[in-house]
Amino acid sequence: MVPPPLVRGLTLCDYAIVDQRTGKVSLIGTFVQMFEDSFPSVPRSFCAFIALTNGQGDATVELVITELETDEEIEREGASVTFPDKLTEVQVIFQLKGWSVSSPGWYSVSVLVDGEAIASRPLQASSTEEGS
């Protein structure tokens, strides 16, 4: 898609609730860090909320999680979305289930539209013994 959509938001949270009546999305428990007792960690479920705009037509939106130290891609989810027009905001909620962190360190959560990275945010996984 040329030009790529604009990212208005990229948020990680425990749950995302979509109200059927109003269409409102409630993000519960936003976070930027993960603390684990051991690695690989126990499988966890969380959500990534992405708000996009300025798109037109069909596009593939992907969420990619990469371990920054090894540059290894450890998760990739995709969705086909349609932008009705450039003003409409498309909100994509990726529900990651049973995701296990292999080792402590920094991870990158990236958003790709039609294969092009348009946003990313860091996610730190730490041991509970290191945290205070």
């Binding site: 269409g23 409102k24 989810e77 086909s80 009705p84 409409t88 905001e89 909100q91 909620i93 289930k97």
Partner: protein, 80 residues
């Protein structure tokens, strides 16, 4: 004294207040990309419509070619 909230809600009336209806919300359940695959693959069912494969009677041992044949119509007499 009348307030808008006391009026009965019409079926198509947008209620007062904030809304997110103007946006498109897409929920993707992981793991894996399920959105690109058809949810119901277009595979012809090998059993007759209305029957489940688990409830197939053992006595019904028809050949597949016989099952797919349409019922033969009796020959119609020619009109004079």
């Amino acid at each position: 004294m009348s307030s808008p909230s006391s009026e009965p809600n019409k079926p198509n009336k947008q209620p007062a207040g904030t809304s997110n209806r103007g946006s498109v919300v897409v929920v993707v359940e992981g793991p894996g990309d399920r959105t690109r695959r058809p949810r119901r693959p277009n595979i012809p069912r090998p059993w007759p419509k209305g029957e489940s494969p688990g409830k197939k009677k053992p006595t019904e041992d028809k050949k597949p070619s016989e099952e797919q044949k349409p019922p033969e119509e009796p020959p119609q007499p020619e009109k004079s």
